[in-house]
Subunit: 459 residues, 2 copies
């Protein structure tokens, strides 16, 4: 057995304790009051990188939160991999639904609970430990690596494109490795080869200058909450189809072979529904759940507020109403075009009795789909096979990693998505968690990946 593998196996529990320190830092990138915590998480990462023997460690500023960079480039003739991840996390709210505090990592039944456990601190940590295993046992790595760990993924990576362009020579590589996705189920390791894109909007509707007494004024002016609800329900029809004109024009249709291949995957709609405790599944008519999530676009209300939402009754006629609405896109939809179509449609739907503001509040992400027969993709498949003891399946995901499209466009090299999350691990929700078996097998797979890639003609 390779010494790096033994190194990981011998330190399984100790590594979990180290990860907890990373998870305790509330690096919520969307909230300005957490700016200091985001910086602290960057510094924690830089410290770890230094400790395990990486080089050229830098906390590089952007217009927003910094990027942490490091590399190790002493394997001449071998491929260079760029490892991308993020150290920022989603907001933990609503706090009252967490069983233990979001920033107090706690193990229950072999799962580590904390905001960021799976998305994405745990998966970044997995790579650090695999690199440490090689460096501490061999003093060397089988390939060259560069690490680019950003702090703004959860707000749509608004400054990453500019960063990549500015540091293009510094980060050039033969392959990009990203661990920020989930496998289908425990015991079903997988490789993600498709992602959805994203555009994210906020709609503000104003009726009167201030809130009014619902008795003294009710019935005489438009209620902005009604006007907003009216706009929102006109964005989708009863069959779950988005009604924005032109929205589906560029959607790549699923081939018969693709649909059959999706249907063969170990996925149970009944179990999916049961796990969510949902009274029913619902989505675009004519498609299966996997097709709806992986290969069809969607439009969702992410947030909605108007008037009095506290305890008890307040007889107020709201002066304004707000919704956050985002769309997930699939190949070959263009985020810029969809953003235009959405804005125009919402403006057309809005009644003249209220004032309207529609604005994008997050960076755009392009959809992505990669061939599964590329040599680097096959090297990853072998590594996972060795790390998990099981042949991986090729899957897609409904989520967005805007940087994948960015790397594809700017670096023109393949991206390998090696995710060890599980679908029920509550990324972006209360009680986020990470399966500790998966973390361990993920570390083993990552250690194997460098050995496999060293023997692969990537270009």
């Amino acid at each position: 057995m390779h010494p790096a593998i033994t190194y990981i196996q011998d330190r399984r529990d100790a590594f979990v304790e180290e990860l907890k320190a990373f998870l305790r830092i509330p690096s919520v990138s969307t909230k300005s009051e957490h700016k200091g915590d985001v910086q602290k998480a960057a510094e924690w990462l830089a410290g770890e990188m230094r400790r395990i023997g990486l080089e050229h460690i830098q906390i590089l500023p952007t217009a927003g939160h910094p990027v942490v960079y490091a590399d190790w480039l002493h394997a001449p003739g071998k491929p260079t991999a760029l490892i991308y991840g993020h150290y920022d996390v989603q907001p933990p709210e609503p706090l009252d639904l967490w069983i233990t505090g979001p920033f107090e990592p706690t193990i229950r039944s072999g799962e580590l609970y904390a905001r960021g456990a799976v998305d994405d601190k745990g998966q970044v940590f997995m790579h650090l430990k695999a690199l440490e295993a090689h460096l501490k046992t061999q003093g060397t790595l089988p390939v060259n690596v560069k690490l680019l760990i950003e702090g703004e993924e959860e707000i749509g990576s608004p400054n990453l494109d500019a960063f990549v362009l500015k540091h293009l020579d510094q980060i050039r590589a033969d392959v990009v490795v990203i661990s920020d996705t989930a496998m289908m189920a425990k015991g079903v390791p997988g490789i993600t080869h498709g992602l959805r894109g994203l555009v994210y909007f906020q709609i503000d509707v104003e009726g009167t200058q201030s809130d009014l007494h619902s008795g003294s004024f009710g019935g005489s002016v438009v209620n902005p909450a009604f006007a907003l609800a009216q706009i929102l329900i006109q964005l989708k029809d009863k069959n779950g189809r988005i009604t924005i004109p032109g929205f589906y024009d560029d959607v790549r249709r699923l081939s018969g072979e693709e649909r059959r291949s999706l249907a063969r995957l170990p996925f149970s709609e009944r179990k999916f529904q049961k796990d969510l405790a949902a009274p029913a599944l619902f989505g675009e008519k004519g498609f299966t759940t996997l097709e709806r999530i992986w290969a069809r676009p969607t439009l969702e209300i992410n947030g909605l507020v108007s008037g009095f939402i506290g305890e008890g009754a307040k007889t107020v006629l709201p002066g304004r109403a707000m919704a956050k609405v985002s769309m997930r896109l699939v190949p070959n939809q263009d985020p810029a075009k969809i953003a235009r179509l959405f804005t125009r449609h919402v403006k057309r739907l809005c009644p003249k009795t209220v004032r309207l503001i529609v604005r994008e509040i997050s960076g755009r992400g392009a959809p992505w789909l990669a061939p599964t027969d590329h040599p680097a993709m096959q090297a990853l498949a072998r590594a996972i096979q060795k790390g998990f003891g099981k042949q991986p399946v090729f899957t897609r995901t409904g989520g967005t990693i805007p940087v994948v499209a960015t790397f594809t466009r700017l670096l023109k090299v393949p991206s390998l998505l090696m995710g060890i999350g599980l679908p029920d691990e509550n990324a972006h929700a209360p009680n986020e968690k990470l399966d500790l078996d998966n973390l361990h097998h993920g570390m083993l797979s990552a250690a194997h990946l460098w050995l496999e890639l060293a023997q692969t003609q990537v270009r």
Copy 2:
């Protein structure tokens, strides 16, 4: 001039300073954390009552916040008036829209700004000062009075019916006097002879047990915010008409004479719209604004929330959505019947893909309409004429004072609604205020009212 009138005229500014102390107490009845403040406001009132020479002062417990009672019963052969008001206030939120703090009373341009200034502490205070004026100058009152000032009006007076029933003998009177309404405009003193009723609901819709990642799950389950929006927009049609079956069955139609009388009132739709800074007026088709507010029922969304409503973007698929919805009712609608119809209709509208909870969260209020030619009503008209120097108009209001219906039903005596508020004084909204001229003329009118009633055969 009567000494009581001179007393009030001599102390105009000093009285405003006294009122400020009352307004500084944040007696928000809907919030449990303000329970102590509500009690403090009751004690402040009791103290004032004692100081000005009222008797039998008691802070009487209820299942919720207490009632403050006092009386003065030394005018044998003269009518007995029951003065009703409330010392609790609406929540001040949203706080950031207040120019000065809601509980830091501030005078700007002849108006006193504070939560409760007009609704209803200022108007309760007006009566205290009119009684003080008689007692301090004459040592006596022209009539017998009882005061019942409650602490739960802003949450729908859930315990007042029981209180009135329990203390029926103690509070029996020949006429009820209530100051908790507004006049049409400055310089247009009025008497309110009609009120709308109220039923208030909360609707909770649940899709999945917890919030989900909008990428990983978007498109596969119903978004509860969509489901709720769908329910809400089906409660009213495009013409502003409520679509709940049976809702209008018992609505008393406006007679031609009533419509003509409303049209004669000094009311400008254009000014009304301009004051609200609303892009347009909107309401039930076929009715004027005054008819919509005073004589037609309405259904309003008072609050709405789902998912992430903080700063920035969060890619969450909400697990639940909540709306607060209330209806204002007119004669002869029955709140209990409307509550049944609403609940049944919402349940019918709710898609099977989500779980639904519909519940009433506030006490019901019955609509009320009184004849304008009653001798007590005419006595009030003369008192206002003397206090304001102008003949009052008879108006209605879109608001609800549930206790009026309660008194009508249980005491079987007329109620006099003598309100000194103005429509733009932001009751229930940020920057609530009270016109200090109206406060002064209101005190004079109240002092006159006791002189006029003493010469009136009320029964």
